[in-house]
């Protein structure tokens, strides 16, 4: 006997679930306000009804901003892409720290260059859109130009002239707390060509992976890409520490030889 049950439309069900609370709260708020104001003549109850309507509107705003892809699915996709980069880098045997480059150097989007040699001097030229790139005149000036988790979010910010620590803090907070919801906030302090970024309440799990020694954790990678993009300069992750629900990323801003 064939099973004639129809599969449930999960997307429609999810949408209904998402808007059930705001709709119910609006209905309760309006009814309470009308009853309290017209029939009961009670000011506190009318105010309670109005506050319920405001809360319903805010609930709707939050429901509307919820991601379409579940966070677990995003985590799986992120993990897959990082494991692919890790396998590639490990196979080639690169051990140097990645240099995060702004879109003006890659000619595309912010990317990370994992060089063969430790000593890297980048000039003003735009790098070719390839995986293995030659960035200098010496034979050993070769490296892998990879797309990191920061590459996609790095496009959300633009380069800024004479940018202060406050500007960087605003940009990082906007991306991490606003656009992606990966952390609760960020603080930045700048000292010459060193930048210290404190990320409060990071939501990504800290798995230990070999590739993190080179490109940093996904959050550090995102921060480095944003900083590289906003300063329009290459950036490298010097150190990364985790303590008391905070992720501290120490970045070094590199200069380009003219």
């Amino acid at each position: 006997m064939s099973d004639k049950r129809q599969p449930k439309n999960s997307h429609a069900t999810a949408l209904t679930d998402k808007y059930t609370l705001p709709t119910s709260l609006t209905a309760i708020g309006i009814t309470l306000t009308a009853l309290a104001y017209i029939i009961l003549h009670s000011t506190p109850l009318s105010a309670l009804g109005i506050s319920t309507v405001i809360i319903a509107a805010v609930t709707y705003a939050i429901a509307k901003g919820q991601p379409k892809i579940p966070p677990q699915a995003s985590d799986i996709l992120l993990q897959t892409s990082i494991e692919n980069i890790s396998a590639l880098v490990e196979e080639i045997g690169l051990k140097s720290k990645a240099i995060y480059l702004p879109a003006s150097i890659t000619g595309d989007k912010p990317k990370a260059l994992i060089p063969l040699s430790q000593e890297v001097k980048l000039d003003k030229k735009i790098l070719p859109k390839r995986l293995i790139v030659k960035y200098g005149t010496n034979p050993e000036d070769l490296g892998l130009l990879v797309i990191t988790p920061g590459s996609a979010v790095g496009e959300m910010v633009e380069a800024k002239q004479d940018c202060s620590a406050g500007d960087i803090e605003t940009a990082v907070t906007q991306v991490l707390a606003g656009n992606t919801g990966l952390a609760d906030g960020a603080k930045a302090s700048m000292n010459n060509n060193r930048l210290l970024i404190e990320i409060a309440g990071p939501h990504l799990e800290n798995r230990s992976m070999w590739i993190y020694e080179s490109i940093g954790t996904p959050i550090a990678s995102i921060v480095a890409s944003i900083v590289a993009q906003i300063l329009d300069k290459p950036v490298t992750i010097s150190r990364e520490t985790f303590a008391k629900g905070k992720n501290t990323v120490d970045l070094q801003v590199l200069e380009r030889k003219s």
Partner: protein
């Protein structure tokens, strides 16, 4: 606790406390509304930034509430000037 949850919790707790406190004093509805609107702006600002979609809707709510606030102020001014409403 995520920012969205904290935002909702703060707003709900503040509104509940305000309603209770002003109910004890026995004030008019426009005072309740004005306090709610100011609280909305303060709490929203403290929990910003949100993602683009949420931010757009909270901005619209803000515009509507600001309009209501201006209306309340205008009615009060007219009342003080002795204009019959």
């Amino acid at each position: 606790m995520r920012t969205h949850d904290r935002y909702m919790l703060s707003l709900t707790a503040t509104y509940a406390a305000t309603t209770l406190a002003l109910a004890v004093y026995g004030t008019t509805l426009d005072l309740y509304l004005s306090v709610f609107i100011v609280e909305y702006f303060v709490i929203t600002l403290l929990h910003s930034p949100f993602n683009a979609k949420t931010q757009r809707i909270t901005n619209v709510i803000g515009f509507v509430l600001f309009g209501v606030f201006l209306l309340i102020v205008a009615l009060r001014v007219l009342q003080i000037l002795g204009v019959p409403i």
